[in-house]
Symmetry: C2
């Protein structure tokens, strides 16, 4: 696999992004949805923030409070009995779990796809009961002249996926929750197939403890049904514990290519590829046994949550995959992989 | 609350139902969907079976095998290291979980609503990958001239809800999975409200460990979206750990009445009532603080899984609730409660 990492990597880092409030700091800029608008590449970046810490004895967090329509802060002490900080992404307390950062979505634009102009203000931020812990991991599908965005809406009610749309990345319209707790990694196919829309998604069964990929269909993008499980984990492999769709699928002569992510027992996240039948997208034709991209560079191995490459979008142009991907839940990196290399690594 | 239990209770017991195979025994007949067809009351009963046990050293179970389209049997020994039988409903092994019984759906008919003629053969039984552990807990909504059935389809892929329909309870048509793992307790409102269908459902968020009630909408009963959380647990109450819809909602002058179930920390299941706004059914107007029906009779307290009253259907007739309900995951009982009693116990 010939992976050409950008020498400028990471191309977008937390220090490149202005916090949404003076008393906040940006700790993560990662997992961006990707598309083109006119002659520009658009990233819709997940920006993770937390209150600036002035007291080293406490850990402050931010939460959206729907009752007052405000972002409020809360502090936890490492000494408090019954409070656990063992996962850098979460604070576990007797009264419930909290996330250590609050994410919103931010637009960045670029002519060359490498140097981005990043907006100083959020494009979409927490605004309802399903988003009190933030908006995460957007994917973008361009259908006709509208960009449909699926993003993870997180709150104590669960990990859901919501649908929004925009025509210009200036104003955004919300269309409600499309997948129920816990279900994320939702990517919508960018065209109807035999008169229906399709989406890949990743529900979780707590009873049987499975994190595998499903596909659903819709007449209108807002209502989904006829769900099918279509892709299991690989045993004793890089994608042995969790898998989920990453980028919006794109079409080639042989079918649909989906770049998906997988984790192993050590929570090491890599990207792989799967080829789906062009008219029956729930049929897996072939799958890469080995990752097409795995954490190898320093910036992929170390960070807020290390050993992670995680994509929410790519451009398929000039027979190349131009992959934008989150590294270590901290920054955004860019790499190019020839499509031919991916195809040669697919196994039936 | 004036609860009139039928003196014949339980009105349907496992020994009243013919096993689907000579080598199986029926261990549960419970959680029945309820409706009327012509001048008869129809129950669609969940019938739980297991292979007849000839060797006391092993526990045999039945599973649907989709590869061969057959029900196969499997045996577990209580002595096997790493195998747990601590929950009577489940066998936990290093390779995964199994259910101790395989359920199918069976039709029973009655003129008086008490004495039922039970079909000798299943109406719907496991037939695909989502049903390998069986079909459970059906609810029936009559819309125009079609009966829509939501039932729990269980397999190692998760606990899902599937939609089926019938006009006569002889032939049934499947319409696929409508809620993804894990999501059950789905009841469909029996008419459109402002041009949309609505359903109550109960997704599970493993991350935040919540079992609460949501509502979704649909243009066609098959595709669902715009999901909203609408009813939380009650703290330190009979419904403090899990709640879910039980019977198909019915309309009265004041709005929709939903009879729901709840469990407390001891897994004691009771029934309560909630009044929803007639044109905005996601709005809770009032809720019973205390149960309207709780396990008190011997047959409700003792059985396969004791201390459980659990309804999947009722008839609202003559200002009474005629409730059919599963008792101790073993049998079906019948009770009548005056609607007025329920209304008087609702608190805003």
């Amino acid at each position: 696999m010939s992976v050409l990492r950008c020498p400028n990597n990471p191309i977008i880092r937390p220090e490149d992004v202005k916090p949404s409030r003076d008393d906040f700091e940006v700790i993560g800029t990662f997992n961006a949805g990707v598309t083109r608008l006119g002659d520009e590449v658009i990233l819709l970046i997940r920006v993770a923030e937390r209150p600036t810490n002035k007291d080293s004895n406490v850990i402050p967090i931010a939460i959206y409070d729907s009752a007052t329509d405000n972002i409020i802060t809360k502090e936890f002490s490492e000494d408090t009995p019954g409070v656990s900080f063992s996962d850098s992404r979460m604070i576990i307390t007797p009264e419930g779990k909290y996330l250590t950062s609050l994410s919103h979505l931010r637009v960045a634009k670029s002519k060359d796809g490498i140097e981005f102009e990043i907006s100083d203000t959020p494009a979409m931020s927490a605004a309802n009961d399903y988003e009190t812990f933030g908006l995460e991991d957007p994917r973008i599908a361009l259908i006709d002249d509208t960009y449909y965005i699926t993003y993870v809406a997180v709150s104590p009610l669960g990990v859901t996926t919501a649908l929004a749309s925009t025509k210009d990345f200036n104003s955004f319209q919300r269309h409600g929750i499309i997948t129920c707790p816990d279900n994320k990694d939702v990517v919508i196919f960018p065209e109807q197939i035999d008169g229906k829309y399709y989406a890949l998604h990743r529900p979780v069964t707590p009873l049987f403890e499975k994190y595998e990929m499903w596909i659903g269909e819709s007449p209108d993008l807002k209502h989904w049904g006829n769900h099918h499980h279509f892709m299991p984990l690989q045993q004793k492999a890089w994608d042995s514990t969790k898998i989920g769709a990453s980028a919006t699928p794109f079409k080639i002569d042989q079918g649909w290519i989906e770049i998906y992510h997988g984790a192993n027992e050590d929570n090491r996240y890599c990207l792989g590829a799967v080829l789906l039948d062009s008219s029956q997208p729930w049929k897996v034709i072939a799958r890469t046994e080995k990752p097409i991209l795995e954490p190898e560079a320093d910036y992929e191995i170390e960070g807020f949550f290390g050993n992670v490459v995680f994509s929410c979008g790519l451009l398929h142009e000039n027979e190349k995959l131009k992959i934008y991907y989150g590294v270590a839940d901290t920054s955004i990196a860019y790499a190019e992989i020839p499509l031919q290399d991916v195809l040669e690594n697919l196994k039936s």
